[in-house]
Amino acid sequence: MTIGVTHFLVVGAVMFCCGLYTMSTKRNAIGILIGVELVLNSSALNLVAFDRYMGAGRLDGQIMALFIIVLAAAEAALAVGICINVYRNLATVDVDKATQLRG
């Protein structure tokens, strides 16, 4: 059996679903961030796979995958900043405790 683009897409879809599942079940803000990273990386994997198998040879997909890695790093930095801010105010990073706003 040769490995084709579908195999990569399936792995990507599994990562995407795992990311969504992580985001919806984790109560710790850092855990939710890990879920976001999984979803972002599934798109990077898709891009690289499409580039390898279906791209026009311009490496668009690989370049976008690189940029997405950069974005993931930037978002992680921002998330840690926001989590520290929350911890200073609520003394926890459990998102279930952040319930002042309801309506």
Partner: protein, 533 residues
Amino acid sequence: MNFEQLSMLAPEFTMLVGGCLALLVGATSASQRAQLVSPLAFITIVAALLMTLSLGTPESAQVIPGLWLSSLTFYVRCVALVVGAIIVLVNWHQPTASERGEYMALILFSLLGVLLTASSNDLIVLFFSIELVSIPTYVLIGLSREDSRASESAVKYFFLGALSAAILAYGMSFLYGAAGTTLLQTSGDGASIAAWASHGVMSGTAIVGLLLILAGLAFKVAAVPLHVYVGDVYEGAASPITGLLGFVPKLAGFVALIQIFSACQWDVPDAAYWAIWAMAAATMTVGNVVALLQTNVKRMLAYSSVAHTGYMLVALLVGPMAGHGPMHNGVAALLFYIAVYGAMNLGLFAVLSAFARRGKPIETLDDLAGLATVSPLIGLATAVCSFSLMGLPPTAGFVGKLYVFSSAFSLGAEHAFQKPLIILAVIGVVNSAIGAAYYLRIVASVYIRESDESPTPVAGHPVRWGIALCSIPLLVLFVWPVGLLDTARQASVPTNAPVHSVKVVEASGITSAPNTTPPVLLNEMPFAAASRD
């Protein structure tokens, strides 16, 4: 790329340099230097606006393959910079002196993202422009706020925003896989999504991609079902920055949708069409009904922002080429409406930030009571903005709603979606009537209700100017909508003419597609002409 081409990006460079300068000035600790930051940000935006106007409406011009200036770029630049300048006025004294540099720089960077979204011609550039819009807003919510509700709303906004960005990227990966390129359009024969869409039926991969992109952008424009954050985020953020949150990401999201649909030749696959249809109907209804139940004005305006997204989605569904008449252009109606929405929404949040009651910023309907006796002019401005959000004459909100719904009613019988769109427009009109109820509560609170303790004005001159600059144009645009609407109509015509009709002009050093925009005749607009009389 040469200097001439780069100079067409002058507004973007101005915003970038202005933002960096604001950061540098803000980094110096002297508090008298912090006073310079707000004027600096304001001057930067005005300078960028003047450059945009002097550059004029470009013929579709390619700077680099990923950046393509068009009449849409011109329109969005003007709208984003004008509203952006008012946003800076409203936020003038909001941040503490020590954080003012970062605060203003983030506003400038967010606006820069909108400008880049409007000129992006590549999925990579488009994606990162949208992220450039969003990421500063996550920080702005939590910055300069002691309130622990602000950090809670920042955390909610950030995680949902990050998820939507990831879904958007996932969708774009599928669109890329189907089209084989990330370029939206080219002036030559090269591969582009426009060229791919013009000859070929959409594959399943592309449809999945489009649906995921739609889901990702639904968060930015606050459409159901990704609207769940708005109430909490708007309530937790400071009023001045909420004016930005309601407008800037929404503008970027809709421009991105227009860019992607116009690359797909507005030939939206049925699945995506019905998805937007359902989304529009649900967004209007949920937004208005939930807003009715609120007593907190910020929360009410948050759900009103959801409802207005629904109206704009109706216009998006009509598309730019529904017919030949003046009222048949949904995208022009959308672009007009979002500009008007930016002004009226920002105006109300500016009013909220201009007063305090019992030492706290006003938030609820009770807090607003007696405002008109304290400050008759600001009371009048509140009424103008509320009537405009309601869609009543004599305000621009009426003109905007008229264009949006008449574009949906004007489709010919040959259009496959004529009946569903008429049903949608009827839902929209009914919703406008529901919406009137809660906007009237704001006006009634300001004018009729009495209060033992009236709100006290806390705002300086910049905020007052901001309120004036939001509400006066709403009246002017009712009398004379032609200028803005004309520009919106030029911007709405898809720039990607069929590939063979585009010729490459090398002599000037600028690769351009000449005259892809047909001339727009003023006398084609019966309503506009009538309202002038």
